[in-house]
């Protein structure tokens, strides 16, 4: 050992020492970058001491303190069981001796009494003692836990580590000595790389929220103010577009806003997402799926077919933000915008990931329907699943190909064997509007105008909805067969009777009507059509383009008038 000799050559090396921690906010010494916690020139001593450490008996303000922990009581999607005895432990407890905001950093063990600034950490670094708005810590994350969750990797990937008891701690994501990736993260969180070391969300990698290069255009509110150092694009911010690891206002799922729709509309307002996905604009219209009307009702683990008392609508009811993409589809198949969401199939069974668009609509518009009947009719059915059932008497071809093999005047290259979406009729109005039934100036969130009743002056605009598939020529041209001349032209053009008076646009369920009286979507509007003196009120199908009516309509007695 030539140690003593070497001491001869000793010079004070202190000021040329440079470590990873030197230029970080965790260097609390007088030479540090941020908060100066006293006059010390040493960096380590604020947390460490070579002798008589307090690790086994933390006295830095932890004694008698109770932290509120993140568990199932905070978020239904958390699999951490409620355990009143669970408190921060391991390394996390050491972090919290400063970061719970109650103790000044200068209260180091080796320093004894405070010698410097008695300033608790503040701002984003102050997590408080209520940890229910922070990513959970001090819980065991093993293969069994991952299996219960179903959306986690079996174990964390490098460099995220668990402690000796397989617990997630602050140190799983943070290296207090190294600020290379900012916020002392152990890896960059660009593209949410760090989050994805543990989280393994279904569908995520192909989601638009994982791949979009959209930037904030600088107008309105910055959607990423909840992130200390946001990246420029949606793809780079990834999870952080909606989620906030610490001090999240929306504690459940750690969402950045407690208002569910705000997590979406902060970008889908024309300032980040492209104009054709400006949903906020649609939500200002009179008829809408009113996502503003509910708060704290939606739950990702709620039952698929909602009971009446829990009816609500949030963006997340129809969209899976981890799955959405721009994959197109043909009716009735589900497209990318609503992929990966739960629904009710045609038979009434719950499906965890819908295959057909209508299955999503059936969540709220089948059993326990949210909306009542729009028109008072001969037979009423508010369960759209019944109206569109393949065994229904007649129906628009949403869940099954249509029954009528001869539908004249079909436009848009449609044929009798094609199918359509609910959203072909129910969608935001306006040619450049986003797809889907977000908001419309027309009742029932219809894509085009659809006037009802018996005082409608026929025009291309009055029935624009119908005319978008059914050629107007078939109605405004007097010449033609009985259906065209006596039924359509006569009623629609000459007598101002709307389509809706005779036709029930969804369908007539098999339980309520027969082929004779309710084919061709015939189901009279009782506000216009009334029984004859003898009580008769029915249509009679008499075969190909032939039928008769026994009704009282507009004071005109239809005594089996046929065509």
């Amino acid at each position: 050992m030539n140690r003593l000799i070497l001491l001869m050559g000793l010079v004070l090396v202190s000021y040329c020492v440079s470590a990873q921690i030197t230029n970080t906010r965790h260097n609390l010494s007088v030479n540090g970058k941020g908060l100066k916690a006293g006059s010390s020139q040493s960096m380590c001593e604020f947390c460490h001491t070579p002798h008589s450490s307090r690790r086994q008996a933390p006295k830095w303000g932890n004694v008698g303190k109770r932290y509120l922990m993140y568990d199932q009581s905070v978020s239904s999607t958390s699999d951490i069981k409620v355990d009143p005895s669970r408190q921060p432990d391991g390394a996390s407890l050491l972090c919290l001796t400063c970061h719970d905001g109650t103790v000044a950093p200068s209260s180091g063990a080796s320093k004894g009494a405070n010698t410097g600034l008695a300033v608790p950490v503040y701002g984003r670094a102050n997590l408080g003692t209520d940890l229910t708005d922070d990513h959970p810590i001090s819980f065991v994350y093993d293969a069994a836990f991952a299996a219960i969750d179903g959306q986690l990797k079996t174990s964390p990937e490098h460099p995220v580590v668990l402690d000796g008891e397989d617990k997630v701690q602050c140190t799983s994501c943070h290296d207090p000595h190294n600020d290379e990736y900012s916020n002392f993260l152990v890896a960059t969180n660009q593209f949410s790389e760090l989050c994805l070391k543990c989280h393994d969300r279904d569908y995520w990698t192909t989601s638009s929220h994982a791949t979009s290069n959209a930037n904030w255009n600088g107008s309105g509110e910055n959607p990423w103010t909840h992130v200390e150092t946001p990246f420029a694009s949606v793809a780079e911010n990834a999870c952080a577009n909606c989620h906030q690891t610490h001090s999240a206002k929306g504690k459940a799922q750690l969402q950045k806003s407690i208002l569910e729709e705000k997590n979406c509309l902060d970008c889908h307002n024309g300032n980040v997402a492209p104009a054709e996905k400006n949903i906020e604009l649609q939500m200002q219209k009179q008829y809408r799926h009113n996502v503003y009307a509910y708060n704290g009702v939606h739950d990702p683990r709620e039952e698929t077919l909602l009971s009446l008392s829990k009816k609500h609508v949030e963006c997340q009811d129809c969209h899976n933000p981890h799955a959405v993409n721009n994959q197109p589809a043909q009716a009735p198949e589900v497209n990318g915008q609503i992929s990966g969401v739960q629904g009710i199939d045609q038979a009434g069974n719950v499906v965890s990931s819908i295959a057909y668009e209508y299955e999503l609509c059936f969540r709220c518009h089948s059993e326990n329907p949210m909306a009542g009947a729009v028109t008072s009719r001969q037979v009423e059915q508010t369960n759209t699943r019944m109206e569109f059932s393949p065994s229904a008497v007649s129906f628009h071809p949403v869940a099954e190909k249509g029954k009528n093999t001869y539908v004249p005047g079909l436009l848009n290259n449609l044929t009798e064997s094609d199918m359509i979406y609910c959203t072909d009729c129910h969608a935001s109005d306006g040619d450049d509007s986003p797809a889907g039934p977000h908001g419309s100036i027309y009742p029932q969130i219809l894509k085009y105008q659809y006037l009802k009743g018996d005082e409608v002056i026929e025009s291309s605009k009055a029935y624009e909805l119908c005319y978008s598939c059914h050629s107007r020529n078939m109605f405004v041209t007097e010449a033609g067969d009985g259906v065209q001349q006596k039924v359509h032209y006569n009623h629609v053009v000459k007598n101002n009777i709307s389509c809706n008076v005779c036709h029930d646009p969804h369908g007539i369920s098999e339980m309520q009507g027969g082929d004779i009286n309710h084919s061709h979507l015939i189901n009279f509007d009782l506000n216009v059509v009334s029984p004859r003196a003898n009580g008769d009120l029915h249509f009679t199908d008499q075969g190909y383009r032939s039928g008769s009516c026994n009704v009282m309509c507009h004071g005109k007695d239809h005594d089996n008038i046929g065509y």
């Binding site: 003593l4 001869m8 690790r55 086994q56």
Partner: protein
């Protein structure tokens, strides 16, 4: 050079807490400065030269452990045990030169923060092998076998570790020079301003 060291060491220890020359327990305060630890004749040279103080048994200690400590230590040994033969608080200070002694730190220096005790679980670990394997396993330590210490010439293991090549250990004297270094407090070998001493090994 050796002469120089001797002169410097004497001068240094005279100004440190290890100058016991006036203590009544040390030859009635007759000015013996080296004798509590060293003797010119009949000393033991196992871990420190010409050792004159009784060395306690290496039993009864609670060693350091931590989820982030990848090293292995079961009992203090080598030169650390010599330090602890006073700093355990209960071994006699004056057990030197074959005498059993009668005075220990707990009674002589009541409440002194230099008493380490036998519970070493809250003290930096000692008597563990620090090699490249440990550095790799830890991830936050320098490779002692290849990195040059702040002294500028030799590797960390040469300048700061003890024992045979291949099993060099961290001991009390890795950080402390019992004779003191001019201008450096706490009998440290290197000033810890800027945490320089910590950063000799820790790559944080």
């Amino acid at each position: 050079m050796c002469l120089g060291v001797a002169q410097l060491s004497t001068a240094q220890i005279a100004g440190t807490g290890h100058n016991f020359s006036a203590e009544t327990w040390n030859e009635s305060g007759t000015g013996e400065i080296c004798k509590p630890c060293h003797t010119p004749h009949g000393g033991d040279n196992a871990d420190a030269p010409l050792w004159n103080h009784a060395v306690r048994a290496n039993t009864g200690f609670t060693m350091y452990s931590s989820g982030t400590f990848q090293g292995s230590t079961s009992a203090p040994g080598g030169i650390s045990l010599k330090c602890l033969s006073c700093h355990d608080g209960t071994s006699n200070l004056d057990a030197h030169g074959g005498s059993a002694g009668t005075t220990n730190m707990n009674t002589e220096y009541t409440g002194a923060n230099t008493i380490v005790g036998v519970d070493l679980s809250n003290d930096h670990p000692v008597s563990f092998i620090y090699d490249v394997d440990l550095a790799t396993a830890d991830g936050g330590l320098k490779d002692p076998e290849s990195e040059i210490s702040s002294f500028g010439t030799n590797t960390i293991e040469v300048d700061f570790l003890f024992g045979a090549n291949g099993s060099r250990t961290v001991e009390c004297a890795s950080c402390h020079d019992p004779h003191g270094v001019a201008g450096v407090p706490s009998l440290l070998r290197v000033s810890n301003a800027g945490s320089a001493l910590c950063l000799e090994c820790h790559n944080k």
